[in-house]
Symmetry: D2
């Protein structure tokens, strides 16, 4: 019970269902005095918004955010910031046939059995739409981090088995948002678009890999031994629906490396001790090294497909078949990009505050 709050000092509580009257989030712990208006949040919501291209669902939601508290005269007050997004284009009747039919790959059956009752409309709370609150909270975190020179961005590096080639951060930042699949390698991106079209035609769906990066992170974030920075990042990223794997730095490849290959040596540069390589992905021993944090998440193919699947009627307990014709994304990774950025930003903001890098108190007098 009550697993809808994340964070220790920068504390995020989300609520809302896919077809309820609204979704939202309360962000508690934002330092006072930060310039903030709705456009900061709206910009990120717009990136998450469905209906933007054939790579995503046709549900059309403006997703206009309303900031309800915690901001006064354009600045945060240190009080909880509540934000709400009304649902408008919810077409609940389209889900009536799902009342008793659990969709394979979805949590329908589990919610029904765990809670005894389930808001089956559009997946209810287990819908990808739930991430709207995460993105709103992440927008504030990202905005806060930007004042400390931290940039968080994500991009698709593999989709439907098509890998993107390695690019510099600058190229990624320049190009990733130019394509509907959010892949900075434009050639790979167009192949990915084709693969999506093929999958859609077959009534099937594709998985992929998203890379999430944070640059400008100071050395010293993370609280061993359990609240290590990589541990908290893992939790945050794995809590996104559809993520089945995660790696940091060399990740799974490190399992095949030798110590002499994996270890990042120390050198002196500009009178600082640094590592010229970053196999660690910016985190060693649970603490940020000052180099970019580089994570990759494996995203499974969208479980909603229009191909015929075997399932069971929970009421009659008879086997049956299902073809899902609701409005759903043929592939998740492109839309997961802003969500992954949000989750990494939330964890970093929390650890910046926990570590004392951001002093939560604007004015301290003895």
């Amino acid at each position: 019970m009550s697993g809808n709050t994340l964070g220790t000092v920068f504390k995020v509580t989300t609520w809302g269902e896919s077809h309820g009257s609204a979704l939202g989030v309360v962000v508690d712990g934002t330092p006072a005095g930060l310039s903030l208006d709705a456009s900061v949040v709206q910009k990120e919501l717009d990136r998450r918004r469905p209906g933007q291209s054939s790579a995503s669902t046709s549900r059309n939601e403006a997703d206009v955010v309303e900031i309800l508290s915690g901001v006064f005269e354009g600045k945060t007050t240190g009080m909880p910031i509540a934000m709400m997004i009304r649902n408008r284009d919810a077409n609940s009747s389209a889900y009536d046939y799902l009342r008793n039919i659990p969709r394979p790959g979805h949590a329908d059956l589990l919610y029904k059995e765990k809670y005894g009752i389930r808001d089956y409309r559009g997946g209810g709370r287990s819908s990808g739409r739930e991430t709207v609150g995460r993105v709103a909270a992440g927008a504030i975190a990202k905005h806060l981090l930007s004042f400390y020179g931290i940039t968080v961005f994500a991009h698709v590096i593999e989709l439907g088995g098509i890998p993107a080639s390695d690019l510099s951060f600058a190229e990624v930042l320049d190009n990733a948002e130019k394509t509907p699949v959010r892949c900075a390698d434009l050639k790979a991106a167009s192949k990915m678009m084709e693969a999506i079209e093929d999958a859609r035609r077959e009534g099937d769906s594709l998985g992929g890999i998203v890379e999430v990066i944070a640059t400008g992170v100071p050395r010293g974030l993370g609280e061993p031994v359990f609240d290590k920075l990589d541990a908290d990042i893992s939790k945050a990223l794995m809590s996104i629906g559809g993520v089945k794997g995660l790696e940091i730095g060399a990740g799974f490849a490190s399992a095949r490396m030798k110590g002499s290959q994996m270890n990042d040596s120390f050198i002196i540069k500009d009178e600082q001790i640094i590592c010229p390589t970053n196999n660690a992905g910016g985190i060693i021993g649970g603490i940020s090294t000052g180099l970019p944090i580089v994570c990759r998440v494996a995203v499974k193919p969208t479980p909603s497909i229009s191909k015929i699947q075997k399932t069971v009627d929970m009421e009659t307990m008879e086997p049956c078949e299902i073809q899902i014709h609701g409005r759903h994304d043929p592939t998740i990774p492109p839309r997961l990009v802003p969500v992954a950025e949000a989750m990494l930003s939330i964890v970093l903001a929390d650890h910046m505050l926990r570590s004392g890098f951001i002093n939560p108190v604007s004015i301290i007098r003895k």
Copy 2:
């Protein structure tokens, strides 16, 4: 600060340094009335203990646990269970030369910069020896879970690039502990042993992959949307030193699958709705499905190697070289096996209690 407690209801707090006088753990939230004596914990500590074979460090620690509280007349009382393991074979002087020399791949520099002071003896708190408290706590969790028919076990499925073949759970349970590398595929195991010897001869180290499994887990564990079961498992496993990646079920392979391949269909068996396949790895939407939970963690090669590495003297700020001749494991995965089991057990015990499957109160009267 203060990141040494894990869990919401089954709460684990570890303490201690590699060369301090002792290490230990406080386990708060164990239900009352559970039969428990030190042998339950000792058995797991013995599995974690160093010096057992050439696959591990030659440091020789008996690691005898003392249960200091929370048990009365052979049963838990519901009060916090404190356990302590004295350090005996600590050879601190062997580490004197590390006072100012950070070892590549280790957190030495980061601890020094983050805290300003560092117990450099044997890695202090960032040593693998810290896991002794985790294993002691995990032993209680595992013992508790066993009463509910849940079995947690782990084994090495890849080491130094050598993969083990797929085996049934029964074969894994039968064979994994027979080999020093804890790999149930005995042929692969002997190749892994050779690879370890080669690496040792070169003064180098190896990485690998550990699979952790829980069977008998009831359907319904996990608290969406942030405290999803897979999210909490990820945090727990990633908090183990040396882990750089993690996947559940099909994991990274799911990124290359289509929805029609990945989705586990529903059928009826014995009047229950079940999935005959388990691509999900036992968790969908953050909730356990009732099928085995299957995770894999990527473990980097031991950073301590006797090959010459480049580093820097933190005091003189001069570049220098280092050869590490302390007693260290040539590869981590075999010794990570009981630690991974401990972490998964702790998370499952916590979620069993959170979900109401284990009633924390022995006797309830209105």
Copy 3:
């Protein structure tokens, strides 16, 4: 930072300012399957609502609650329940003169110094209006508790130095809500009303004492040694603005008693071991005894008074005088009654869930 969430399993997060666009609360951890509609909450908000009599402020807020999530087809789903109350009758311009003038007895100066920025309109977040979220959350807790035979109620037992005589619980339940001061001793109540009128005429305000009671609480709630039931109740009640003291059972009188007077002896009744007396106030050693929980809170006089007070202009740093003519309550205790009930209900619901008395999972299958 981030101190706006209360509870471990039944988790309440409030947000909103007196003159912001709305106030609200997210309640996470309500078990699924509980019948709930807005009227359950509205009823309690109506009791808290201002403008009901001369004993309270003339600000007129309908305080209509909107339930935004977590309820489906009239039942809770186990998902977070978000509730919002729009502000309507906020007259912010009436507070313009307070921008730089801290009101004695209020937190104005402290918010300004702590956060550097302050929503001065109507006290912002430090306004008594903040309690609207508490009462909404408390309504759900109270409703949940009612299914377990637990009744929570409060009444004014002293106001402006006028004590009420001791009455039975039945008399309190019958009469307390009949009078604007929520005192069940009707004679004392009318004297209290007179005292309020006198104070109002003088431009002054009155304090008083509120008693909060819970009956039907099962034996066994409370988690020693820190999360004792009385400790958590104390925190919850002391977090209400204006409360300066708190006692349970014999309370401060127990300091003057001897052990032989204070101790509640045990006898057998109906084959159960019970105490015929209740000096303990329903809690011993931090655990509920099964007898009624009886707490009393001391409430200071409303700090907003129209009498001339000395203060300082924070901008010019010049001394000045202030007369507060905003719409404020001449005395707090009558309006604190539903708030105190809410806080006690929230703590009890949380401990019911923590202790296993309420199983959070509706349907558990292995």
Copy 4:
């Protein structure tokens, strides 16, 4: 379950039973670089130690603390500090007759019913001896606070109905520890000693009131709306066994005051805005004002008395009588003094860290 950890950033976890092999505490979150040796802790334990005078139990425990972790070369390392105190003079057989006989005023019956099993030796975990861990943790908190100019002290202001006269803080600091009852009014102290002797002779016990004070607390501690400073202090103090009431500043007297009397006006002194009076007791709106924090706790008479009391045999369910001849304190307040100081210190250290007044990171480099 699991209620043995207190604090958000400065986190204290206690463990141990009265007659177990040891008691102890883990303190997580102490900033690195603080000079600390065992004498700092021992000094406070010696003040708490039993057997010091006729005002306390005759159990003779040296209570020697061992610091097991978190300190290196005389300084804290930022790692958890584990401390242990061995039990030596435990006379468990003296408690055999209590196995089935619950003592009135004690939690014996409740532990038995809540947990189904109970370490009845000397009260087990519910013994006053449990506070040894609190005092050890509090010693570190107090030591940390002292570097910031904060002094925490407590004294007995009423015992057995005998009040002490009001004294200045200086007089209290000078005299309180001179008398076995820890009352700074030496005349009242000797009357209190007589009252204790009388009570002892009658086989009875006395209650009293302890005042706890913190001076030098900076303005701005406390995190509204739930983690207000006074709310957290209340929880911490009420979690001490035997405390039945608590007030801050004018406390219960404020209920009888008018706003014009209660409000502390603002003036300018030394170019700072301050209040010349302190009816608030150093906290308004949940935030520290910069003036001394003044709390008073009501302590019930020791429940263990040698007078005959009525109770019940839990096994036979027959009524019986009890005379308690174990070694117990005739009155609790004098021994509660160091415990109350410890709890207030722990809360203040936590809030200092939460508020950013103490930066947890010793050295921050970007």
